[in-house]
């Protein structure tokens, strides 16, 4: 009964456990690359108007390569872990590959295609929780905005 009223309509205790798995919580507790970047070539802030959270993503692009990616700001465990995993997954990539990865994350969230690189696999747990998709999207939206400037 309760499950039928969960925010996604298909979330369950099992899927909640899948979302709040140790791998995701580890990123939340000790996020990677959560720091200012003095020599950033671009940055962007994305805000979630629903909750007031905001994530700032900084990138340093050399030629076509993301040689450094970092973030600051405040967010829930999903937003923080998503940002942390994103910095790991995109550093060293080309701009085109990073944007393609952001698009892949979006396809995973909307259920169109669940494939993700291993480093981003914990994000799959967010998919059943539609109310939390915006949290996972936040850093990726900021990244895409930074790369478009």
């Amino acid at each position: 009964m309760t499950e039928s009223l969960a925010m996604s309509g298909k979330a369950s205790a099992a899927s909640m456990a899948a979302m709040y798995q140790d791998a995701l919580l580890a990123h939340h507790r000790a996020p990677h690359n959560r720091r200012e970047m003095g020599d950033a070539t671009a940055s962007a802030v994305h805000k979630n108007p629903v909750c007031g959270d905001e994530i700032r993503v900084m990138v340093r692009v050399d030629g076509d390569e993301l040689v450094d990616v970092s973030f600051t700001g405040r967010g829930c465990s999903i937003a923080t872990a998503s940002a942390s995993m994103m910095t790991d997954a995109t550093v060293g990539q080309s701009v085109g590959d990073a944007v393609a990865l952001a698009e892949q994350v979006e396809r995973m969230l909307t259920g169109a295609d669940g494939a993700l690189p291993d480093g981003l696999a914990p994000l799959r747990g967010v998919a059943p929780f539609a109310g939390r998709h915006g949290c996972a999207r936040m850093p990726w939206q900021a990244l895409r905005e930074a790369l478009s400037t």
Partner: protein, 407 residues
């Protein structure tokens, strides 16, 4: 012993979901069958356009619409029911005052006073009015426990103050404002118009507009067991009569000439177009339901649950509760849990059948002063009982366990 003031069986949604613990009534309340039936009855037995039809069915719709206004006026202590204007809710009521009274009376050099406690519905219209007119917006700060700082109100209000906007009860932390003292301070220092946001007060406390010595009072139907899309602006006749219309169209006119118009009398001058009569009738049914319970009993019931919830959550480690002492709050428990974001809390509580609000509660100026982006908020109403408190605490413990797991 568990008891709710109103039986869950009166509320179809709650009756159909026995494991649900709905603790988001400050956002919107559940609806009793009496309200749903009243709306359906209107459409099934009286559906016609009020004020317009020269036939008995229209007269019946007109009577029901007028009776609804009279019922609601009685409930909020207004002797002159023509001073109760139906709106879509509190937000539209505030925009009506800002547009109609504000643009007519506020100019550069004037001051508009709001408090840091306000819901955006009683903050943004005044902020924007100040920007549009060149007036200065002044914000009254809060005490350490998120109540309005009356000393600062004394300092801020002056002969330059044209309007003061103040909430009766805070939606975000539940603080019941010292309204009588605030009004006394404002009246002693200015000729300002006083606008009060009653969205969180009318559902939970006895309210008598005619005794408050204020100019405008707004509230929403959906928070007091009524339907969404209906609310009221109550105003003093002398001010309402001087105000220009808010919107133009049918029913709000007296006579339309080719190149000018005259306006209908109160309250119709402010109710352009076909009225939301069915929802007005539904709101009147909600009012009758609350009157049968008794607003003093509603307050006492919420306070009892809030005391239990407050004691239980304060026993948990790492919890911060916002707002003044329980006796100065409506049935709202706004809190943070150390190292657990409110949205994570809400997701986990949802899995336990517990519905709470997590976010800035449309009160971002207050959140900034609390130093947080969001809080978690549990809110109680007439159908809440001790099982809701127990489920909340159990789910909070579960959430803390998830986030306390060792790496």
């Amino acid at each position: 012993m568990r008891h709710s003031l109103a039986p869950r069986s009166d509320f179809p949604l709650l009756a159909a979901t026995p494991g649900l613990h709905y603790l988001d009534s400050a956002a919107t309340s559940q609806k009793p069958a009496a309200v749903l039936n009243a709306i359906r009855d209107f459409y099934e037995t009286a559906n016609a356009n009020p004020h317009r039809g020269a036939y008995a069915l229209s007269a019946k719709a007109t009577d029901l619409y007028h009776d609804a206004r009279a019922t609601i006026a009685r409930f909020v202590g207004v002797a002159d029911s023509d001073c109760v204007v139906f709106t879509r809710g509190t937000t539209e009521a505030m925009n009506l005052v800002a547009s109609s009274w504000g643009r007519t009376n506020v100019q550069a050099g004037d001051e508009i006073v709001v408090t840091a406690l306000e819901h955006h519905a009683n903050f943004v219209p005044w902020q924007q009015l100040a920007l549009q007119t060149g007036a200065t917006l002044r914000i009254v700060e809060l005490t350490a426990h998120q109540s309005i700082d009356l000393d600062q109100l004394r300092d801020v209000v002056s002969t330059r103050t044209k309007l003061v906007a103040i909430t009766h009860v805070s939606n975000a932390v539940g603080a019941i404002t010292p309204l009588a003292e605030a009004v006394h301070i404002i009246r002693a220092r200015s000729a300002a118009v006083i606008v009060v946001d009653g969205a969180q007060a009318v559902p939970h406390l006895p309210v008598a507009f005619d005794t408050l010595d204020i100019d405008f009072y707004a509230f929403s139907g959906h928070k007091l067991l009524g339907p969404m899309g209906i609310g009221c602006l109550v105003g003093r006749r002398a001010i309402l009569e001087k105000m220009p219309p808010y919107q133009f169209g049918g029913d709000m006119i007296e006579w339309v000439h080719d190149f000018d118009c005259t306006w209908n009398v109160l309250p119709h001058k402010f109710e352009a177009g076909t009225p939301n009569a069915a929802d007005a009738v539904g709101l009147a049914a909600a009012v009758r339901y609350l009157e049968a319970l008794g607003m003093d009993q509603v307050r006492a019931h919420e306070l009892s649950l809030l005391e239990k919830a407050e004691a239980a959550v304060r026993a948990l480690p790492g919890l911060t509760v916002y707002g003044p002492a329980v006796a100065q709050r409506s049935g709202v428990l706004s809190f943070s849990v150390a190292d657990v974001h409110p949205h994570d809390l809400a997701t986990i509580l949802d899995q336990h059948g517990v519905c709470i609000r997590a976010g800035h509660h449309c009160a971002q100026p207050l959140m900034r002063r609390l130093g947080v982006s969001a809080t978690a908020r549990a809110s109680f109403y007439v159908y809440s009982d001790e099982s809701d408190v127990e489920a909340l605490v159990t789910a909070l413990v579960a959430a803390q366990q998830i986030f306390a797991a060792v790496d």
